[in-house]
């Protein structure tokens, strides 16, 4: 089973610390929701795991230190779904998804049959097969978000990191997206997503990590993290909480 260990990771962005001594231990099957207010360090944590920002501390996958892996090796372990859904050029959905095979391509060669098969599977998993010939630039936000997940899936990595994948989507698209991500975790991957919608996080994630000013404020099952006290402490708001058959319902009420 895949394991990702984050040990005392700190990130300094400019004069202020963006992350301070963050330690987490993640395993295959986990669907981790990173929650916390704006500026808490959610995106920074994702980028530090990807190696996109310089960090101190130790990051290891299956016991191998990430710092010792070169870029293509790392790319076979970690894939990334960015918050921005713009593409520079009007590429078709299929071509965008196929970009996920970049780490596997041989020099001067195109996609192999095996690459093609992985692209098909990824499109099926993210439910974008019907969109394959459309241009990404013509799609709705929800469709684009799923295409970018399919792109990450085509990269065929045991760990997938998504930065605010549900931002700006309508409820229906939010739910279908969370279902896709939850399904990926169920099939053995580690899925990490930063989220602002606490109910979505509570409903679909197996585990939540609450960040507050660069530190881990709480870590565990949703009902243990999303308590009135934690929400008041970190977000500065009161909230209505109720356990239901479909999971915990969180309704923010007012600022304190």
């Amino acid at each position: 089973m895949t394991t990702l260990s984050v040990d005392k990771v700190s990130v300094q962005l400019g004069p202020r610390p963006a992350l301070t001594d963050v330690s987490l231990s993640l395993k295959g099957g986990d669907f981790i929701g990173l929650i916390g207010p704006n500026g808490a360090g959610k995106s920074t944590l994702i980028k530090s795991i990807l190696g996109l920002v310089p960090s101190t501390g130790t990051l290891a996958i299956n016991g191998r230190l990430l710092a010792k892996l070169d870029a293509p090796e790392r790319a076979k372990l970690l894939s990334y779904v960015p918050q921005e859904r713009d593409v520079a050029w009007p590429l078709s959905v299929e071509k965008v998804v196929a970009l996920g095979r970049t780490p596997y391509l041989q020099p001067m060669r195109g996609l192999t049959d095996r690459d093609g098969a992985r692209v098909e599977e990824a499109m099926a998993e993210a439910d974008v097969l019907v969109l394959r010939d459309r241009l990404l630039s013509e799609l709705s936000g929800g469709e684009r978000a799923r295409v970018l997940i399919a792109r990450a899936l085509a990269q065929d990595t045991p760990i997938l990191l998504a930065d605010e994948p549900t931002a700006g989507l309508d409820p229906s698209h939010q739910i279908s997206l969370m279902k896709v991500l939850a399904g990926l975790a169920q099939r053995g991957r580690i899925v990490v997503a930063s989220l602002h919608e606490l109910s979505l996080a509570a409903r679909w994630c197996t585990r939540l990590v609450l960040l507050d000013r660069g530190r881990v404020a709480a870590d565990g099952a949703p009902q243990h993290v999303l308590t009135e006290a934690n929400i008041a402490e970190v977000y500065g708001i009161s909230a209505f909480l109720q356990q239901s058959a479909k999971g915990l319902i969180v309704q923010p009420l007012d600022t304190i």
Partner: protein, 329 residues
Amino acid sequence: MSYRLLLAALAVLVVLLFAISLLIGPAGLDVGTSIAGLLNGDNEAARLVMREIRLPRAILGLAIGATLGLSGAVLQGYLRNPLADPGVLGISASASLGAVIALYTGLSGAFALALPLMAMGGAVAAVVLIQLLSGTHAGTLTLILSGVAITSLSGALTSLALNLSPNPFAAVEILFWMLGSLADRSMLHVYLSLPFMLAGWVMLFALGRALDALTLGADVASSMGIRLRRTQWLAVLGTAASVGAATAVAGSISFVGLIVPHLLRPLVGAQPSRLLTASALGGAALLLASDIATRIIAPGRDLKLGVLTAIVGAPFFLWLVIKNRRNVL
């Protein structure tokens, strides 16, 4: 149209234009004499005209066109901006400045390689400056303004260098450096520039996969195993080497690198890596055609190449600005 078919069609077009370029000239040789002059040396005069005057001109037209098309495609892909082009960004203008300094101070007379090397130095300076001013996520406005600033400054310094020359002809030669020409180039110019252009092409063609990945942004590209630092170096040095060498022998020729990738992008499914080969061929075809046109429109008058490319290119550029207005403001 399939990608292979497109490349084949462009290649045929380039070969055809290359041949026409060899057959057109003020000496008015007939086709038979021209081919004989090119292949065997019986007719001394025809041999000289074909091998020493027209052949280098056609080779340079092809190579410089390919350089401009290719570097335009790379710059657009790398900066993720459809308005990038060596001319618009001021790379050609600053390469001109380097070449002018090398030539008019007599440096290149003492050391021939100084000409392409100084031009490349100018080009590197421009690319580095653009990077400093606008970064890789350049907004269109920043990018164009940087280009305007670099072009104006280089143009002014070029003009200054030419005016300071004690040679009375130097001052009017600013036309050549600003608009470019292939008239009366020789094989010496080919030997001086082609190796650097080839080296630049190797670096630029190596960028195909990275440019594809960059379509989704630098972070995603990096997460897919693209080494951004290496990509940046290849883009900077490849552009500088090829555009610098091209400018050193033909002056700065604008808009080829802008138009060609645009026209061909829809035909390759917008994929940056496929655009590279297509744009190189397209650029070669466009420049050969422009150079042929200068000889047909005004034979014997040394009409500057940049005049034609700008007449076609500038309105095209405006159209692009209008199309991209949303992103510009």
